[in-house]
């Protein structure tokens, strides 16, 4: 298809439709078996994938989530169909890897990415209000760096093969999921690990999960859906385009949860959440700042990998490494509260992000 065809999803109505579809699909994914108030969370699902391939060994969070594979492959299909697959990269790859690691660690202190902030709110989890405030604060700090000239440098045009690497990796992971499906009562199937209890053991049927991921990946690539960008653009440019999608997702997920009987307001006993408000806030400050400096929320980074952006691909690999570190080193939270080294990780993470921000501010 030609690029000359008007992109109807990149209009106000288009992004509202995409946000609404994601919200409704999330509600039904939860009903079909995905963890409550999680449904589609890039951080949580990235952590589950890290567990499934054995780079952390937290037994309750191991499942190769088809939604994440679908995000990249759906976006890749859209980029190919509309001639937007354009491999590029080489802009501060190691810095982007570190940003991905720190973003994941911050998100796992809160227990969710920006998508899950919205979905937790839509499910009635009041603790998500601290996460939302933290996300906004982190993104706001990021905008201060942008105003001071923050820039990770230019990417360069790269070969097709370079742009194909992450979509091919996702295809490979999908092949593993098909070759080694979960076996009831078994913690391992072939080379993949599976949770027998906890959030990793909660999942919707493969076909539904994969179709949801592919569809969302396709639509999000067309609309440029980005939860971090929604907040950033309001602060930087007073521009509401992405925020309409953010709000549509919240409203649609809320209505779907009401319809399906999945709305349970409160702070105590919320699914896969803890009540340590300060650390919910600070965890998302760290994640929000890392997403801002990297130029997109974790979902958007996955969609950009589908477009051939290898910088986003490096960030996504950083997310996986961050998930492994968070669970191997006791940084991640659990419903009981923050992990034994989570507080130190938040403080160190914030310091590293400020260093990255300051070090990459260039005078015009």
């Amino acid at each position: 298809m030609s690029r000359a065809v008007k992109n109807i999803f990149a209009t106000t109505l288009g992004i509202i439709a995409v946000g609404s579809i994601i919200g409704v699909v999330a509600g039904f994914l939860q009903q079909a078996g995905n963890p409550a108030n999680m449904a589609i969370c890039v951080a949580c699902f990235g952590r589950d994938i890290a567990g499934a391939i054995g780079i952390h060994r937290a037994a309750v969070v191991q499942y190769l989530r088809p939604e994440i594979l679908g995000f990249v492959l759906g976006s890749f299909a859209a980029a190919l169909a509309f001639k937007e697959f354009k491999p590029s990269g080489g802009s501060a790859p190691v810095t982007r890897f570190v940003l991905g690691m720190i973003a994941m660690i911050g998100a796992l202190v809160f227990l969710g990415c920006p998508w899950r902030v919205i979905l937790r709110l839509a499910g009635g989890d009041g603790n998500a209000l601290f996460g939302l405030a933290g996300l906004a604060a982190g993104v706001w700090i990021g905008t201060l760096f942008f105003k001071k000239g923050f820039n990770l440098g230019r990417g360069q045009v790269q070969s097709w093969s370079a742009g194909l690497m992450i979509p091919l990796l996702m295809l490979g992971l999908l092949a593993l999921r098909l070759l080694y499906p979960p076996v009831p009562g078994e913690a391992q199937s072939g080379v993949l690990w599976y949770s027998l209890s906890g959030p990793g053991a909660a999942y919707a049927p493969l076909g539904f999960s994969l179709a949801a991921g592919l569809g969302i990946g396709f639509l999000a690539q067309r609309s440029r859906f980005c939860t971090m960008g929604a907040i950033r653009d309001v602060i930087l440019f007073r521009q509401m385009y992405l925020m309409y999608g953010f709000i549509a997702l919240l409203v649609a997920a809320f209505i779907t949860n009401l319809f399906l009987g999945q709305f349970n307001p409160g702070f105590e006993g919320q699914p896969v959440a803890h009540t340590m408000g300060l650390w919910n806030f600070l965890g998302m400050v760290v994640a929000g700042l890392a997403f801002a400096l990297a130029g997109g929320c974790p979902g958007r980074q996955l969609f950009m990998t589908g477009e051939g952006n290898t910088d986003a691909g490096i960030f996504a690999l950083g997310l996986l490494a961050g998930a492994a570190l968070a669970h191997n080193f006791g940084l991640a939270s659990s419903p009981a509260g923050i992990g034994p080294h989570g507080m130190a990780a938040v403080i160190i993470g914030l310091a590293v992000l400020v260093f990255i921000g300051v070090a990459n501010c260039k005078k015009s």
Binding site: E84, S91, V157, D233, Q239, Y241, G295, E307, D311
Partner: protein, 72 residues
């Protein structure tokens, strides 16, 4: 009429819009030509132009990149 040029190719979001906004805010009349290498940034600059009251005098594809001319 003076024309400024910005090459925003290879820059990730939100850099192209930031550069355009900075140049347009500083410009005292005249035109800004900005080169962009992806469709999403072209859309973003277009939205910024709409909200800030700039005019997109030209928007075309050149060798797989995009060239926009903004005026205010």
């Amino acid at each position: 009429m003076a024309r400024q040029h910005i090459d925003a190719r290879g820059l990730s979001c939100p850099q192209p819009v930031l550069l355009a906004a900075k140049a347009m805010d500083a410009a005292d009349g005249g035109e800004l030509e900005i080169l962009i290498d992806n469709e999403a940034s072209r859309e973003n600059v277009g939205r910024a132009a709409q909200s800030k009251g700039w005019t997109v005098a030209a928007s075309e594809e050149v060798d797989q990149d995009f060239r926009l001319v903004l005026t205010k």
